[in-house]
Subunit: 402 residues, 2 copies
């Protein structure tokens, strides 16, 4: 069922950028060059919002040198969009695709992007258009279904772990309570990655809180007090998406910011409100003098020069594989399967768009400890290889005294 006619292809990058989404883009570009049935490869400028405005660049004209720079650069080199196309929006996309003789659509993004592919694919089928829509996974939240993990997560996890590694050493030097607020609206994977920094028995993060485990302020303060009493210090990683035992997200309770994006999500990132609120609670209730809080913010997804080599490689593989699938079979989503064995290894496979579209995955129970305030060894085993390894660190303060 290979396509006969020579047609054009479109590739776009959607939603929040990551540090390796450009590696996936470059994977699509380099693979597309190898297939003569793909005439031109058009890059959609600012994703679907560029497609409906007929804004494209010809990616086959970009030099190999530039492509390598792009692959190593964070963010979405084509520009991104938060638009969530409905059928009317997708009809406009299909009009442009018809006009430009587009037979392949590659869309790099999260579950919303998989859904866009799903809608467009269905509409094209109904209209009798031959269009193959392939979704390429990306998200720092690691919350897509089917795939073992998402390109973008490994590098974000590396950033978070390196930040907490250093932060814990800083907190050893000047002891107190340190709170780090980490991205992850509904899934705690990225917050859990902070625990990869725990390279010693008494190293932080000493407490880790996830959206998957609602927590009361009383329990939070009791946890902090217990660690502080024992160690004289406490490093805490908190997901921006943690919620109270009544199910309401803490950020919603404490901020008047009601800005919502077009997917009807409350803005959780780009504000220090949660961190400052938690610091205030700890100071007030526990009478601890030195309490500091940082919100890692957008650096988690965009810090330059910090790609996990494993993540970057897999992201590029996913881009290439999408093209390989597309020239052979109808629409779908590229997914990663982890192979059994002592050494980390993966293979790619194709899954249905419907299995990824609009759904999200949470941390499985086996990754969260029974108290709901840290991770298990199973999580470390799962996540550490994705970072490509972390820097080794050491300190001296606990050496035997003279």
């Amino acid at each position: 069922m290979a396509k006969a006619a020579k047609v054009n292809a479109v590739v776009g990058q959607s939603g929040g950028p990551t540090s390796v989404i450009n590696a996936s883009l470059v994977g699509v570009i380099e693979e597309a060059q190898k297939h003569p049935q793909i005439a031109n490869l058009y890059g959609a400028v600012h994703a679907v919002s560029g497609i409906v405005k007929d804004r494209f660049i010809n990616l086959k004209k970009v030099s190999a040198k530039t492509l390598e720079l792009v692959a190593a650069s964070p963010s979405s080199a084509l520009g991104s969009s938060r638009d969530k196309p409905d059928e009317e929006y997708c009809a406009k996309i299909l009009d442009i695709f018809k006009k430009r003789n587009v037979g392949y659509f590659f869309y790099i993004g999260g579950n919303d992007s998989a859904n866009t592919c799903f809608i467009i694919n269905n509409m094209a089928q109904k209209a009798g258009l031959e269009l193959r829509a392939w979704h390429i996974p990306k998200t720092v939240d690691n919350d897509l279904l089917v795939t073992d993990h998402c390109p973008g997560f490994g590098t974000a996890a590396k950033f978070v772990a390196c930040a907490v590694l250093g932060d814990d050493l800083d907190n050893r030097a000047l002891p107190g309570v340190k709170i780090d607020v980490i991205m992850g609206r509904n899934a705690g994977f990225l917050t859990a990655a902070s625990a990869l920094a725990k390279n010693k028995e008494d190293a932080g993060p000493h407490l880790v809180y996830f959206p998957e485990r609602p927590i009361s302020m009383d329990k939070f303060l009791a946890d902090v007090n217990a660690v502080y009493t024992k160690l004289g210090r406490c490093v805490i990683a908190v997901s921006e998406g943690i919620c109270d035992t009544d199910g309401v997200v803490w950020t919603k309770k404490i901020t008047e910011t009601t800005e919502k994006d077009q997917h009807n999500n409350i803005q959780l990132s780009g504000t220090g409100a949660l961190a400052d609120f938690l610091a205030g609670q700890v100071k007030g209730a526990l009478k601890i003098k030195r309490v500091r809080a940082d919100t890692f913010g957008y650096l988690q997804r965009s810090f330059a020069g910090l790609q996990s080599p494993v993540d970057a490689k897999e992201a590029r593989m996913c881009g290439r594989q999408a093209v390989k699938y597309a020239v052979k079979q109808p629409s779908g989503s590229v997914a990663i399967r982890r192979l059994k064995g002592a050494k980390y290894a993966i293979e790619l496979f194709a899954t249905e768009l419907s299995s990824v579209a609009e759904k999200t995955k949470s941390m499985p129970d086996e990754f969260i400890n029974s108290e709901g305030n840290s991770v298990t060894d199973a999580f470390v085993k799962y996540a550490l290889p994705l970072t490509g390894g972390l820097p080794k660190t050491e300190y001296l303060g606990n050496y035997p005294r003279v």
Copy 2:
């Protein structure tokens, strides 16, 4: 005037940690091993606060392998302290030094640490004690006098530049206003380092604000509006220490946090208040929908695995040089001189403790543009070599359209 008797040495790390203060510590340790007149080298646990409690570890017993790990690790491996010793405090230090037969004191820190060395040195002279106190410079703020730059600044500058490099690409992908709040209580050097990320004419940071240039909210908003109108986006770097035209620090105006450290400084770091306040002002006054703000916080001084190789090397040299000076001449502070020539090169020299103690340096006028909202080429020339180079990045959105 070489010392005859075999005596012991003490080394300590004071104030806010940096990513290379341990490189200086290791420099002291490895050089001290070479000088037979130094019997034992004691590491002061938590700086002066450990000295007065007689809390030391024997650094000559630490393995070479551990030392290399320590040198590569952020934060102060011996522990730090914010104590600012007065004469009474220093008298206790001298008592311990007498008890332990300490003839050399190496103190790695900022201007307060230089002052501690200065007081101790004067008191020792008055008491007829033979003690050589050497200050080794460290600060991410780069605000010490005499020296061309401070160990610790280059790596913090690298962090800030890499963060803004990625942040600007993120802001290209999803355009809006992005505000980044950067450390630097009185000196704008670290905030200025954000401008090292400006690798294209239209790249951010588009606006940079320093403590050295008071600014009104009206001017700030007019600046942002001008950039946003022209480019459709705006990336802004703001020092935590910026003040209004009446001289009052903005953070003081907007936060009820009145916590002060023992040096009577208001807490500026570890809170997202300034960033959130500025974002609110831009949203409210300019009616721009997508406004985000991050406070880089403690990651600037502690992120693991990101040392500038130039900074790490110089920090270690400074530690070694302090020992070399100490065995030959009385007290002083190690300083860096930049050599003239096309290629970056430095040499070390000794300066008086009194020339560094208690004073701070601001950004020279030649580093700030006439509008007071960005840096000059002279600053880039000054600061870029200290980072050891920055990652190259690229994007595609502005390529010619098809």
